[in-house]
């Protein structure tokens, strides 16, 4: 009989135990979860062997919900309570959602983000997305037979703005996931491709999904994936091809889809016909409408006429992004197709002709994004060998603030590598002005009205001065998730205002707690238990990380400094396993503060090594 190993109380049994980290592609039409198992990144199937989870949530009676294939099958029968393509609503007000009038929902127009009234009550896109994410989290836990996920990398379209990214992160938190990083879908695809094909050079990733289009240019150099420029259209995808075909078919038959059921039914039929036209040249679009069956024959040629304006729109983005990068198409060494919509022959043809080379399609376009995310998640969890890959991504849209006359002063330019920070000084307009309203926007247009409003905040308590004498320094900081923090400070007086850019609908912790109380799908334990568990996990992680830092670089510390850190470690260790949430938090804070100088010294050493390594190469 094998002996069971028991570790010292509070010690992680084996510091080299692999942490389970997953990659999630939260797509418009379908979602996937992948993880690195036995050294290989692969999509995790459900109990029926299906990797793809349709991104559909149906709210049923009695607080039940159906998620995935089952919900998808019911979408035409129960359109009001079956939410499809929710990604198009993330971080959007009703007015921002193109074609919302044709969607079969009872929309609730709220400031910030639209919501949908279902039989289970009003649901925000964040909550709907969280149902999908929680389903995938559960699938991953079942696959690994483990309740402890270290964390997840979630992908977002490169062209998502701050509001859409924040909404995605909120949904992940609500689903009980520790978000290691948000990464851009084309970047994730490039990671999967680049590693699979050992590529080097400049690559274009053309990602046409169900609802979004991204084009990214990446330079691959020895494991570094550097995004040179990115562009796209956050509202262009397969759904638009379906809608164009549905409209055409109704017009051809002289019919109308007047009810929610009819509108959904004809869209479903259009999508089936579109998919059929990938391999055949003639399809029949058929469905049952309220006033009788609809049957319309459609040839591939006819469909391609409808598709052309949409493809042209995508190709215009491709040209723009090359111009942004000051590159020409001949510089591109390979074009990778990602997203189910790139299966359309007319899309493949247009891309191939424009770049003058056949696009690469040797990885499954549905799975490649999740696989790339899983590789990155594995790396961020510390499982991969050191220095394997590094992603250097960019911010897709410029950030600025409103100045006099509704004009935008751009502060962070699009395609700046993240993380990034920039400061700019502003001054007062009137004598004695003591407050200033600041309005942060994102977009490329000169007028505030044409950009996306991210946040408004006020700086008060500026000492009265003559106009133009105050110096207000605005600092923008964009982190590695592409999320923005803004701070403003009056330099003469030191008056300060800081905000995390959370648009008016952004969830605060109270919202999350409330949603959990209200019996959210992922809430299999109450919020207090969960937060205590999270605090313990945090403490364990910090203990482990600090010990391995000491093991590597203790020589940077004097004997006194080392003793101080040991003391803090011991104090944290004492409370880490206990039930006192506040004691754990306080110990973790003290340990973090007490290791600040050590962290700086270690970084310094790392930077020096990076530079000397280079010099050695040169010799």
């Amino acid at each position: 009989m094998a002996l069971l190993q028991i570790s010292e109380p509070g010690q992680t049994p084996d510091p080299h135990t692999r942490r389970v980290a997953i990659g999630i592609d939260l797509g418009t039409t379908h979602s996937l979860v992948a993880a690195v198992r036995h050294g290989v990144a692969e999509c995790l199937p459900d109990s029926h062997g299906r990797a793809i989870l349709p991104s559909v949530v149906r709210y049923l009676d009695g607080g039940r919900r159906a998620i995935g294939a089952e919900a998808l099958a019911a979408q035409a029968d129960d359109p009001l309570n079956t939410v499809v393509s929710v990604k198009r609503l993330m971080g959007r007000a009703l007015a921002d959602v193109a074609g919302h009038a044709k969607l079969p929902y009872r929309f609730v127009d709220r400031p910030g983000m639209v919501a949908i009234d279902t039989r289970a009550g009003v649901k925000t896109p964040v909550e709907v997305s969280a149902e999908i994410l929680a389903t995938l989290r559960q699938r991953a836990q079942d696959s690994f037979d483990s309740d402890e996920l270290f964390g997840a990398v979630i992908t977002v379209p490169a062209y998502f703005d701050d509001a859409q990214r924040q909404a995605t992160k909120d949904a992940a938190r609500l689903a009980g996931l520790n978000v290691l990083r948000l990464i851009n879908e084309p970047t994730a695809a490039a990671v999967a491709y680049g590693l699979d094909n050992a590529s080097e050079g400049l690559y274009a990733v053309f990602d046409l999904g169900g609802g979004t289009f991204d084009i990214s240019l990446l330079r691959l150099t020895q494991g570094v994936f550097e995004v040179v420029a990115t562009g796209g259209d956050a509202a262009l995808g397969g759904d638009d091809f379906d809608a164009a075909l549905a409209e055409w078919a109704l017009a051809a038959a002289g019919r109308r889809a007047s009810s929610a059921h009819d509108r959904r039914a004809v869209l479903v039929a259009a999508r089936a016909a579109k998919e059929g036209l990938t391999t055949s040249t003639l399809q029949t679009l058929a469905c049952a409408l309220g006033d009788g069956p609809l049957r319309v024959a459609v040839t591939r040629e006819q469909f391609e006429v409808l598709a052309k304006p949409l493809i042209d729109k995508a190709m215009a983005s491709v040209r723009r992004v090359l111009r942004d990068a000051a590159l020409v198409r001949e510089d591109v060494e390979g074009v990778v197709l990602v997203g189910g919509s790139t299966r359309m022959p007319s899309v493949q043809r247009a891309v191939g002709e424009w770049f003058g080379r056949p696009p690469l399609t040797n990885l499954n376009p549905d799975e490649v994004v999740a696989v790339g995310a899983a590789i990155q998640a594995n790396q961020l969890a510390g499982n991969a060998a050191d220095g394997e890959i590094l992603l250097l991504d960019v911010i897709p849209l410029s950030l600025g603030i409103e100045t006099m006359g509704g004009l935008v002063e751009r502060i962070v330019e699009r395609n700046s590598t993240i993380p990034t920070a920039k400061a700019q000084d502003f001054t007062t307009y009137q004598d004695g002005q003591t407050a200033m309203a600041l309005h942060v926007v994102q977009g490329e247009r000169e007028l505030v009205a044409d950009c996306r409003s991210l946040a408004r905040f006020e700086l008060r308590g500026i000492p009265p001065m003559v106009a133009g004498a105050a110096r207000i320094r605005m600092s923008f900081e964009v982190d590695a998730d592409g999320l923005l923090n803004v701070a403003a400070r009056e330099l003469n007086s030191g008056v300060e205002a800081t905000i995390t850019v959370k648009p008016s609908y952004g969830l605060v912790d109270d919202d999350i707690a409330r949603m959990l109380r209200e019996g959210f799908a992922s809430a299999d334990e109450d919020a207090v238990v969960r937060s205590l568990r999270e605090a313990r996990v945090d403490a364990e992680r910090l203990l482990l990380a600090t010990r391995s830092a000491l093991a590597a670089d203790a020589d940077l510390l004097s004997a006194d400094e080392a003793a101080d850190i040991e003391g803090l470690l011991a104090a944290t260790q004492r409370v880490a396993g206990g039930d006192d949430h506040h004691a754990i938090d306080a110990a973790v804070k003290a340990l973090a503060a007490g290791t600040e100088a050590f962290a700086a010294a270690r970084m310094n050493r790392g930077i020096r090594r990076a530079l000397t390594g280079r010099r050695v190469d040169e010799i």
């Binding site: 250097l392 590598t417 993380p419 590695a480 990076a610």
Partner: protein
């Protein structure tokens, strides 16, 4: 090595205008390889914060060193001849005449060919200014003269932006 060190020191490069772009790129990738927050994701909050600061600082320095215009402006500042683009717009008359001629040509250009011709002219002027900058910064050294060239280059770049906007409008 310090966050406050100047960009050249951070990248281990001599303080001069001439620069090997591929060497700069390689240094940047290498430095980010040890500083980037992703490299410290599994560490504590202190390490993550330091990583964020360094990564931001390296990106800022890389962006400034990468573009000849910002690199030149930075060198002028380091050598006591700040550009002050907003306050100092006095330019030689000949330069202003040329600018006006370009503006006129841009307003009157109707075709791709006309714009392409203008584009060639502007690019050649840009190359000439860059060559003069290299001399003023690396050979003479004459920071005040270099600052004047930088201001001229700023005008040229602004014009380039307008020009490519026109070319875009014609294509889209």
């Amino acid at each position: 090595m310090n966050l406050d060190d100047n960009d050249f020191t951070l990248f281990g490069l001599p303080e001069r205008f001439a620069l090997d772009r591929s060497d700069l790129d390689a240094r940047w990738r290498r430095l980010q390889g040890s500083a980037h927050p992703d490299r410290h994701a599994a560490e504590g909050p202190a390490a993550r914060r330091v990583a964020m600061q360094w990564s931001v600082r390296l990106n800022q320095a890389y962006r400034r060193l990468r573009e000849p215009l910002t690199r030149a402006a930075y060198l002028c500042e380091l050598r006591g001849a700040p550009i002050e683009g907003h306050n100092n717009t006095a330019m030689p008359a000949a330069f202003l005449h040329q600018q006006m001629a370009w503006r006129e040509a841009l307003d009157n250009a109707q075709s791709d060919a006309g714009l392409a011709d203008l584009d060639l002219q502007v690019r050649s002027a840009e190359r000439e200014l860059l060559a003069q900058l290299a001399t003023a910064l690396d050979e003479q050294p004459a920071p005040a003269l270099a600052a004047e060239h930088v201001r001229a280059l700023m005008f040229v770049h602004r014009f380039c932006a307008d020009l490519s906007q026109r070319i875009d409008a014609l294509h889209d």
